[in-house]
């Protein structure tokens, strides 16, 4: 992680940043490999990164996206039914999450925001663990080391520094894995994200900055965050960038593979802007009708990431009734498993509140826990201790 000399390979790569993106195959300034109507556009620079993607792979990407949409719908329903306190929908961002998530290797490490539940699915998360945090049963759904994905971050942009530090560790270890951090358009205004890019560029560490530009940071449009395209900001840090159609699962996968390959070869960080749209609210507590135009939603509905893969499969004669049924069955099974896991999750115990604050004994906290245990013991049922009316 020591500083590289001025002759670091970044200068060469940097001009290359515009390479693929500025080649043919750009649609509205974006790298696009599948048009909204399902046409596969050939692309001399990106196609080589997808040579191993067979028809079966394409079908499985279609299934993945369909499944995480089903997870999202199910979780939203669980929130409406009072089983979850809150849920941050990913509706519309399925291609960005599956295309990148399926490009990762098991030994890569993900530092994401709270919306990347589709990426967690790719990492092999236990379905119950996806909703654990949102039910209020824990502050982390899973053990980060079990799926090589950190607890999703709620402080906007803070995780980009963790990914950069983790990548410094990868570099020190001489490993060829990478850290990948996910964040949104709003996060690009945060100091932490900018500092992360400074550190990542200075130390040339293997980190991928994956920015999902979903156009909205709660009610604030992306134009409030930036006067230039987000991908263009990377140039100021000396970081190569790619701007891709975030609703195109193949474009996203190819871009992520390009970035990961650079990271693994010691070429340092890459910034990817995946241009997508948050079709749902910020969270289930949000009301987007107060701040955005219904026409905008319609425009983006026409660019739906799943429909276009379905259209592509149809053109190829692969969208059989059998495939569609198989995908539906899988999605239903996943949703059922998640719902059952959610509703049968055991509640935490009152004294769990003190657990894991420290990893070693702490005299202050041990005393508080002891006193609270005595207090609780003075009630027949610990639930009485926290009833609003009181037990007296």
């Amino acid at each position: 992680m020591g500083q590289r000399s001025a002759s670091a390979p970044i200068a060469a790569d940097f001009t290359g940043a515009g390479g693929p993106a500025e080649a043919s195959g750009r649609a509205g300034g974006l790298v696009q490999l599948i048009t909204p109507s399902g046409e596969r556009v050939s692309h001399p620079e990106f196609d080589p990164w997808l040579q191993d993607i067979t028809d079966d792979h394409l079908c499985s990407l279609f299934e993945d996206m369909s499944v995480i949409r089903r997870i999202d719908v199910e979780a939203t329903a669980l929130q409406r039914q009072g089983e979850l306190a809150l849920w941050p929908p990913l509706l519309g961002q399925e291609a960005a999450q599956i295309g990148s998530g399926r490009a990762l290797r098991e030994d890569d490490f993900v530092f994401s925001s709270y919306r990347e539940n589709g990426v967690a699915y790719c990492r092999g998360v236990d379905l119950t663990d996806i909703v654990r945090v949102w039910r209020g049963n824990a502050s982390s759904g899973w053990d980060p080391y079990s799926i090589n994905m950190a607890t999703p971050q709620i402080i906007i942009g803070a995780q980009t520094l963790h990914a950069t530090g983790y990548a410094m560790g990868i570099q020190n270890d001489g490993a060829d894995s990478a850290a990948v951090t996910y964040f949104g358009d709003g996060a690009t205004s945060e100091g932490d994200v900018n500092e992360a890019m400074v550190f990542a560029a200075s130390f040339q560490v293997p980190v991928v900055f994956f920015c999902t530009n979903n156009h909205w940071a709660i009610s604030e449009p992306v134009r409030l965050q930036s006067h230039i395209q987000l991908a263009d900001r990377a140039a100021g840090f000396g970081i190569p960038s790619l701007r891709v159609d975030g609703n195109d699962v193949l474009a996203v996968m190819a871009a992520t593979r390009v970035a990961l390959d650079r990271a693994r070869r010691g070429g340092g960080p890459t910034f990817i802007e995946a241009v997508s749209y948050r079709m749902g609210p910020h969270t289930t507590a949000d009301d987007p009708t107060r701040y955005r135009d219904a026409n905008e939603l319609e425009d983006w509905a026409a660019k739906d990431p799943i429909s276009r893969v379905a259209a592509l499969l149809d053109r190829k004669g692969l969208l059989t009734a059998e495939l569609q049924q198989q995908v539906r069955d899988k999605a239903d099974a996943v949703a059922r498993e998640m719902r059952t896991g959610c509703t049968t999750m055991p509640d935490p115990q009152p004294l769990d509140v003190f657990k894991h604050v420290y990893s070693t004994p702490n005299s202050w906290l041990d005393r508080q826990q002891d006193h609270y245990a005595r207090y609780l013991a003075s009630f027949g049922d610990p639930a009485e201790a926290v009833s609003e009316e009181g037990a007296r």
Partner: protein
């Protein structure tokens, strides 16, 4: 035993930690070729390389935030914040991430990060170079906060902090960096007094005087001066500020019946308030007088020509001791 300065004692402790554990890495501004603005990391980059002693860009949040990522990867980062007043840009990463990650992940992810902070005044510096921000961190659960008052502790406790699996804020009293003392470098930190235990510096019977960091020396000097007047002061060096070792303080106050707490930080919401409240709760029937706080004022750290008025000195501490003893003092006759 070797005579060495406070700064050199920390340096030697860092060196040992780097030697003993390949996962220890140092991060900070100017800690490499320069050896830190106080030379605490002098020579370490030369001997351990730029990958273990890392000069970082000037961004405190990133220094701490990347340390979090390194800890995720199994490293044991030691971060230097150049001056106390520069820690605030890193406040979010410390409070929201470093302090909470072990809790958040239900113990799956450890944060064995040591954050070294030169703190306190008395060196004639401009603004932002003389602050005592410890109470922000003692108030934050998930962190351990320690400070040291002599070269031996400086040497031992830095090693204990680094090997601790919890995050530790390690406050270094910068006006004592050049003080010399005997250091036993052969002392095994695992066999030494644990860092969360306080230490009785001088035995006494009339008043318990609680101090930490730079004011331990002042408190000890005050005890010597008071002895000439026939007053016996028991000086306690807290060492650990979170958690405070109340066992040691309680035992002393039950003996003396009187408590004076002193620190450079301002009074309101400061650590002295916490100590006074906790001791009142635990020793009420032993107290002969209300606890007394002798602290800095509730002001921004002042310009250097006036800083010695702000900092508790020997006479102000003794004035507080007089108050605790009911002897004539500067506030005699005032109600409340």
């Amino acid at each position: 035993m070797t005579q060495m300065t406070f700064a050199r004692a920390i340096n030697a402790g860092l060196r040992k930690s780097l030697e003993n554990d390949p996962k220890v890495v140092l991060l900070g501004e100017d800690i490499g070729a320069l050896g830190g603005v106080f030379r605490v990391t002098d020579g370490l980059q030369k001997d351990f390389g730029t990958h273990r002693v890392v000069d970082t860009p000037l961004a405190e949040s990133a220094i701490v935030g990347t340390a979090v990522g390194l800890a995720y990867r199994g490293y044991r980062p030691v971060v230097e914040i150049q001056f106390d007043g520069f820690i605030y840009p890193a406040f979010d990463q410390i409070v929201s991430q470093v302090a909470k990650l072990h809790y958040r992940t239900r113990g799956a992810v450890k944060m064995p990060i040591t954050i070294r902070v030169p703190f306190g005044g008395g060196i004639g510096s401009p603004e932002h170079h003389s602050e005592s921000p410890e109470a922000y961190f003692t108030h934050t659960s998930g962190l351990r906060v320690v400070t040291v008052s002599n070269p031996q502790d400086a040497h031992t406790v830095i090693q204990q902090a680094i090997s601790c699996d919890d995050p530790v804020l390690y406050f270094e009293p910068k006006r004592r960096y050049h003080d010399k003392g005997e250091v036993d470098e052969a002392l095994d930190p695992r066999a030494a007094v644990p860092m969360d235990q306080a230490r009785v510096v001088t035995d006494g019977t009339d008043v318990t005087l609680v101090a930490y960091g730079p004011l331990v020396k002042t408190a000890r000097d005050a005890a010597v001066a008071a002895a000439d007047e026939g007053i016996s002061i028991e000086v306690i060096d807290l060492r650990s500020l979170a958690p405070v070792d109340y066992g040691t303080v309680v035992a002393s106050v039950r003996k003396t019946g009187r408590l004076v707490v002193t620190h450079e930080a301002g009074q309101s919401g400061g650590l002295g308030a916490e100590v006074a409240a906790s001791i009142t709760e635990r020793c009420f029937y032993y107290l002969e007088a209300a606890p007394v706080r002798v602290t800095g004022f509730d002001i921004p750290y002042p310009y250097s020509k006036l800083e010695m008025h702000h900092l508790p000195g020997l006479d102000r501490i003794l004035d507080g001791v007089d108050r605790a003893l009911g002897r004539p003092n500067s506030l005699s006759g005032l109600e409340g």
